[in-house]
């Protein structure tokens, strides 16, 4: 990483190419940010405006029209709660699979993954009916349960591949030295698995924040998340792009900024131990 680039024509070409690709791929998002600060007329001007006097009007109007803060709070509560609950369920399971490998551990893991492959829509009718019967429709608790369960297989997998890399000898050594189970967990295992827990939690947070299917079908005005709020802006006429952009920006900004800061950690865990 410390190889300092010395200037060569090849480097110049590579730099230009890399930046060009990056700017093209980032463009839609950058455009969204710009549009959020335009007036509606500027937003649809032909040719598109790059320079203009920014306005904050859209943000004010979005909050007025649809109570952004309520949806944001729902998103925050459901994603944090489902992440914590998910970790509490997944971590012990992953630990047990990694350190007490039985003949069926592999099958259990594969089975877990296969439940995730079933499209959520396959379970829509039953889950909808169950949620309705148990009065969990359009509640934060209902969404937390569903988010947790639909992320659980991935969380177990990620944590498992993290634990798998910890040599069991370390734990055995601690046990030989007379560590109790709690000490073993607290002083040896936890510090070693903090990275895995962090990246798993991060991913779960991102997935829950962005989850759209269940929030669209199971929640409405009371427990609706930001993903569902944005979908309500999808009416066909579409001459209110500035407001749409402002609402979108408010919906994605928290998680994108969060993602920027945690991307290294996140990717480390996502490689499922396949990449060292």
């Amino acid at each position: 990483m410390s190889r300092a680039p010395t200037f060569t024509p090849a480097l110049a070409v590579r730099t230009v190419a890399a930046w060009l690709v990056t700017l093209i791929l980032f463009f839609p998002l950058g455009w969204l940010v710009l549009t959020a600060f335009k007036t509606e007329l500027q937003a649809i001007s032909v040719p598109p405006l790059l320079f203009f006097e920014p306005t904050l009007e859209n943000f004010r109007e979005v909050q007025e029209r649809s109570d952004y803060l309520l949806y944001a709070r729902n998103s925050f509560v459901t994603s944090v709660a489902s992440t914590l609950l998910g970790l509490a369920l997944a971590a012990p399971a992953a630990y047990s699979m990694a350190f007490f490998k039985g003949p069926h551990t592999k099958d259990v893991l594969m089975w877990m993954l296969s439940t995730k492959m079933m499209p959520a829509v396959g379970a829509l009718m039953p889950i909808y009916v169950l949620a309705q019967k148990s009065a969990l429709l359009d509640t934060q608790l209902g969404l937390v349960i569903v988010f947790t369960l639909s992320n659980l297989p991935i969380m177990v997998w990620m944590l498992y591949s993290g634990y798998k890399d910890i040599p069991p000898e370390i734990l055995e050594a601690a046990r030989m030295d007379g560590a109790t189970l709690w000490q073993e967990f607290r002083q040896v295992l936890l510090p070693l698995s903090l990275g895995g827990l962090a990246s798993t939690g991060l991913l779960c947070l991102v997935l829950s924040w962005n989850e759209a299917f269940w929030s669209l079908t199971l929640s409405a005005a009371k427990a609706g998340t930001l993903a569902a709020l944005i979908a309500s802006y999808s009416s066909p006429e579409g001459l209110f792009w500035a407001k749409l952009s402002a609402a979108s920006l408010m919906a994605i900004a928290p998680i994108v900024v969060f993602g920027w800061f945690s991307q290294k950690q996140l990717v480390q865990g996502l490689t499922f131990g396949a990449v060292k």
């Binding site: 598109p48 047990s96 979908a231 998680i255 990717v267």
Partner: protein, 286 residues
């Protein structure tokens, strides 16, 4: 250590997941053989395989299977190929590499509904959209993306979302390449193409398996992008399996037919899973 503890630790996750799978499955099985339309509560009773017959003979069915597979295959192909290219391009240091990395990963954190609306309106609108402007700048007739190429439009949106994921996994993988080996091969006069063929690409093998596995899980059930943009149309042109079932359930209110469809989705998912397990088993089981 006794044998009780490991099982006790595993139980909560396994039991909840099992319930999460089996309860809906049994209910779906039950719904699929009865007459169950939310709009006609008086019509009930066992009707055998009628729902299945209805779902399969619906011309939308085969279209949706083909669309599901097309969507899955194209996005995986696009993200793996472009992801590899971009990762190789930014593997070595250059000015602003840190910022490039941040900008590149950003679309991955954008929620599907925002992604879809952003592309539908600001990019792909045939009059005011940025793409239309670019087309006009080059003197071409702007394309009405969502009407003329609905499935391709969805593929573009979903690829844009998943490309950063593939790229980042590949970058991380490339960073663990043996630099001495690369240096040695260069000393021995290997060209970049030879390095690519014999060093870089083989090294990426396992991370490709990871990318395919994760994307497959999420792409089999692409829903929000279709729901918020094309609504599956025009006709069934961009309807995938997930969306077709949704249409039966919440637009036609036919829970029976939707449940029959859901069982087909389960079968499709299991075929994909079997294929995946063979592939991943080979690549990850080291």
């Amino acid at each position: 250590m006794n044998r009780f503890l490991p099982r006790a630790l595993m139980a909560p996750a396994v039991v909840t997941l099992f319930l999460w799978m089996i309860v809906p499955l049994v209910m779906t099985l039950y719904f699929s053989v009865i007459r169950y339309n939310l709009m006609q509560p008086e019509a009930t009773g066992f009707i055998g395989l009628e729902n299945f017959e209805y779902f399969i003979t619906d011309p939308s069915f085969s279209t949706s299977v083909v669309n599901t597979l097309l969507l899955l295959g194209s996005v995986i192909l696009i993200t793996v190929l472009m992801g590899t290219g971009i990762a190789l391009l930014i593997d070595d240091p250059f000015p602003g590499r840190g910022l490039v990395r941040i900008l590149l990963i950003s679309p991955f954190f954008v929620m599907p509904t925002v992604n879809a609306l952003l592309w539908k309106h600001m990019m792909m609108n045939p009059i005011y959209g940025v793409l239309a402007q670019v087309w006009m700048f080059f003197g071409a007739q702007p394309v009405d993306w969502l009407t003329d190429f609905p499935l391709l439009s969805v593929i573009i949106m979903v690829s844009w979302q998943w490309l950063p994921f593939a790229t980042l996994i590949f970058i991380t993988s490339l960073q663990s390449m043996d630099r001495d080996q690369l240096e040695a091969s260069r000393m021995d006069g290997a060209t970049y193409l030879q390095q690519l063929r014999y060093l870089y690409l083989p090294h990426l093998g396992r991370s490709v398996a990871v990318v395919v596995m994760i994307e497959m899980i999420f792409l089999l059930s692409v829903f929000a992008e279709i729901y918020t943009t094309t609504g599956g149309g025009p006709g069934d042109a961009s309807t995938n399996m997930a969306f077709l079932i949704f249409k039966q359930a919440l637009l036609n209110f036919d829970a029976g037919v939707a449940s029959a469809g859901a069982l087909f989705a389960v079968v499709l998912a299991n075929i994909a899973a079997a294929f995946l397990i063979r592939m991943v088993g080979k690549n990850l089981d080291k």
